[in-house]
């Protein structure tokens, strides 16, 4: 036996699928994957959704999630084949030798238990130390993970700390029983960039200090480059490429890896602002339930055929701005001028034509479409409502629109559940285009998508802008996206506009502190980036 802590040999994982209208059949999710991990090393597993990365990660605990079954191969942890051991042995393994950090800490904690009790639970369960010792260790871990007030934070309940803090508490939970291996399953994906960087730094420090080995699962190559020693690139359950971080980032061999490294490389020539903006937001102040102001005196302009990107972290008020413009939340002060005339603040009083010219695309395409309507009905409805199209004429236009979004006629009778994430978002785009709008509000439209799919959507949006001369209000927390598609940028922080101007103005120094923080927090695809950034940071994120 070698000195490998974890050894996966020719792992095969399968599941039974039950497609509607067809016979259930078995599929293979992971084909013949092998990897080795030495003590104290970090292996990054990277790939898009459906690549099998989480499934492989969980196999190191001999666990298959929701009907997934390990059908072949061997998994050795500390020299024993854990696929052969019984339930009792697995109980010894899980939470003692191998621990797990999940993506959404908020959903993984028991809301009715204090954090400390949950952090030391596994340690006590395995009888690894006394309660006092475990609590001392937890406090020590809280301190080294940079949590505020480490002595007392354990007395809080999960809802009393922020998302980034909760993710760090979960890391402490995984580290507490002194495991040999931790599986990190997208631990920073649900966080803001400015928070992500803190959590990333905390995880990296904890790994270095304790010498624990880790499998780090993510879809973001730039993130994994900061924490791991080696990277395994996966696609559709197959190994694509395996190498050191440096080799993968600097000289990727496979075509797919090269594409991943190049993601976010869409560029777009900045257009000059015109004299007559299509939408003028003037001194808008808005609040929910009349108490807390979510938007404070915000004014921005959007020009015909151009894109204004609104950036900021969660809670900055960027989605509220969209709600105000669409009329879902009438502002308490200020006015909105659309195409030369003032818009009625509340939605029910707006004319059908105003509604038609102002469309919206949502972040979660799956809940933005009625699951009981076909693609044809979804795209056809605006045509019927605004232009009175019927029958063959409507169908012809729907097919045209489907061609425009690069999907084609064969999708017309499908239901949303039969589409992939990227296709769903495309249908939503077609639905708003059907109205022939002058402005489309895009609320985090690419956030839920894999990087390469997201790039496809951005490219489509840019192409459509050229053809239809439609303006976009692009709400996002992702600065890489902003750089790719915007003409002007508005940076928001806690409801205020902190920086606003054309793309080149906003993105060139001198920066204010917040913009600097935001810009520097976007993970870059190079080694040592994390250390550099942390060394010269000026302020903390709002989530801390």
């Amino acid at each position: 036996m070698s000195d490998n802590l974890l050894e996966i040999k020719n792992l095969k994982i399968g599941a039974t699928v039950y497609p509607p209208g067809e016979k259930p059949h078995d599929i293979t999710i992971v084909h013949d994957v092998s990897l080795d991990l030495k003590k104290g090393q970090v292996m990054g597993l990277i790939g898009e959704s459906g690549a099998g990365k989480s499934t492989i990660g969980l196999s190191s605990m001999s666990y298959g999630r929701g009907g997934v079954e390990i059908t072949g191969g061997e998994v050795f942890v500390n020299g024993r084949d854990i696929l052969k051991i019984q339930a009792h042995g697995l109980r010894e393994l899980r939470g003692r030798e191998v621990t797990y950090v999940s993506q959404s800490a908020a959903a993984s904690f028991n809301p009715a238990m204090r954090l400390m009790d949950q952090v030391i639970e596994t340690t006590l369960l395995h009888g690894l130390s006394t309660k006092t010792q475990a609590e001392e260790r937890a406090i020590e871990l809280f301190r080294s993970l940079g949590l505020p007030d480490p002595e007392n934070i354990g007395n809080r309940y999960p809802h009393q700390v922020s998302g980034g803090q909760l993710q760090r508490v979960m890391t402490a939970m995984a580290l507490c029983p002194k495991p040999d291996l931790i599986v990190f399953d997208e631990p920073t994906t649900a966080l803001d960039v400015t928070t992500q960087i803190d959590v990333l730094a905390a995880i990296k420090k904890a790994i270095r200090d304790t010498g624990v080995a880790a499998l780090y699962i993510t879809h973001d190559l730039a993130v994994v480059a900061q924490v791991s020693d080696e990277i395994l690139v996966l696609r559709h359950g197959n190994m694509v490429e395996h190498g050191t971080v440096q080799q993968i980032i600097e000289e990727p061999k496979e075509e797919y890896t090269q594409e991943l490294v190049k993601a976010h490389s869409i560029t777009h020539e900045e257009k000059k602002p015109t004299d007559n903006p299509i939408l003028r937001v003037e001194n808008i102040t808005a609040s929910y339930a009349g108490t807390i102001k979510v938007l404070k005196d915000v004014s921005v302009d959007i020009h015909a055929g151009q894109t204004l990107a609104v950036v900021g972290e969660s809670g900055s008020g960027k989605s509220t701005l969209a709600r105000v413009i669409t009329g879902l939340l009438p502002p308490s002060e200020g006015r909105i001028v659309f195409d030369g005339k003032e818009l009625t603040p509340a939605l029910p009083n707006r004319s059908l034509d105003d509604l038609r010219e102002l469309q919206m695309i949502y972040q979660m395409a799956d809940v933005a479409m009625n699951p009981r309507q076909t693609v044809g009905q979804i795209i056809g409805r605006p045509l019927e409502l605004y232009f009175g199209m019927k029958g063959a004429e409507k169908r012809k236009r729907v097919i045209e629109l489907l061609d425009e979004i690069e999907m084609g006629e064969k999708f017309i009778d499908r239901y949303p559940a039969e589409l992939s994430g990227g296709q769903k978002q495309r249908v939503c785009i077609a639905r708003s285009l059907a109205a022939k709008p002058k402005l489309i509000i895009c609320d985090e439209v690419t956030s839920a998508l894999d990087p390469l799919v997201a790039d496809g959507i951005l490219k489509l949006l840019l192409d459509l802008q050229k053809i239809e001369n439609v303006a976009y209000l692009f709400i996002t927390h992702d600065l890489a996206t902003v750089k790719s598609i915007s003409d002007s940028i508005a940076v928001m922080y806690l409801g205020e506009l902190v920086r606003y101007g054309t793309k080149s103005e906003v993105l060139s120094p001198p920066f204010d502190d917040y913009t600097d923080l935001l810009l520097s927090s976007v993970p870059e695809m190079k080694l040592g980036w994390l250390e550099e950034v942390l060394a010269d940071r000026k302020m903390e994120s709002a989530g801390n």
């Binding site: 509607p20 209208g21 939605l347 699951p371 009981r372 309507q373 239901y415």
Partner: protein
Amino acid sequence: MNFKRIPLSALVGIIATGGFLFVAVFAPALAPYGMAEIVGDVWEPASDEFLLGTDNVGRDLLTRMMYGARITIFIAGAATIFSFVMGSVLGFTAAVTGGWFDMVLSRFVDLLMSIPTLIFALVVLSVLPGNLVTLIVVMGVLDSTRVYRLSRAVAVDINVMDYVEAARLRGEGTRWIVFREILPNALSPLVAEFGLRFIFAVLFLSSLSFLGLGIQPPEADWGGMVKENKEGIIFGIPAALIPAFAIAVLAISVNLVADWILNRTSDLKGGRG
């Protein structure tokens, strides 16, 4: 539709429910005797002449059962449909419009539900003229409070989905939102509830008849038949148990069908199955 894919339990339910419906519809043609015709002695045991025996005044029980199925299923079905149409439309509208409409309606429903249903029905039915329409309306209104609550709760969840917001931003009216966006997505829990409520309606109607305020003699209905024959039980005559047994079988078979429909409509493919 592929009949081989219907699970056994649903098949049993379909056959039994279908049998009840068939008998109900064709009772006059199938029944061996007239509905109120006295053909034999009191409480005669089952024989070739009277397959289930005779009742307390000597009418053929099988005939009475068939006519009873006809009237029981008709009234319970009509009351349930009435309660679903009223309850779900009001419930959805309340959830979608909100505000005072929702408040007034919901508090009114609370008020109705705070009064025990059976006592409420007894009072109302003893005051109002006793005919079928009154019976159906009273049962429907009382049942619709439960349907209202369920539909409102389901619709409140659906109402916050992005596709409903998208429909609102598109300029759709309340009617479109209720019938096109919410109703298709609220169907599964409603169908399941329909089976259950139908059976409650059968039981409720039987209780009313048993107490003498439902179907009036000499019309046959299952609850009334239990009442007419209940004295026989002490003498070991099973005549009262036959309609009770029929109620139980109908309850089970309707729910087997409802379960299966629920499975089909919660299918990913938008219920085409």
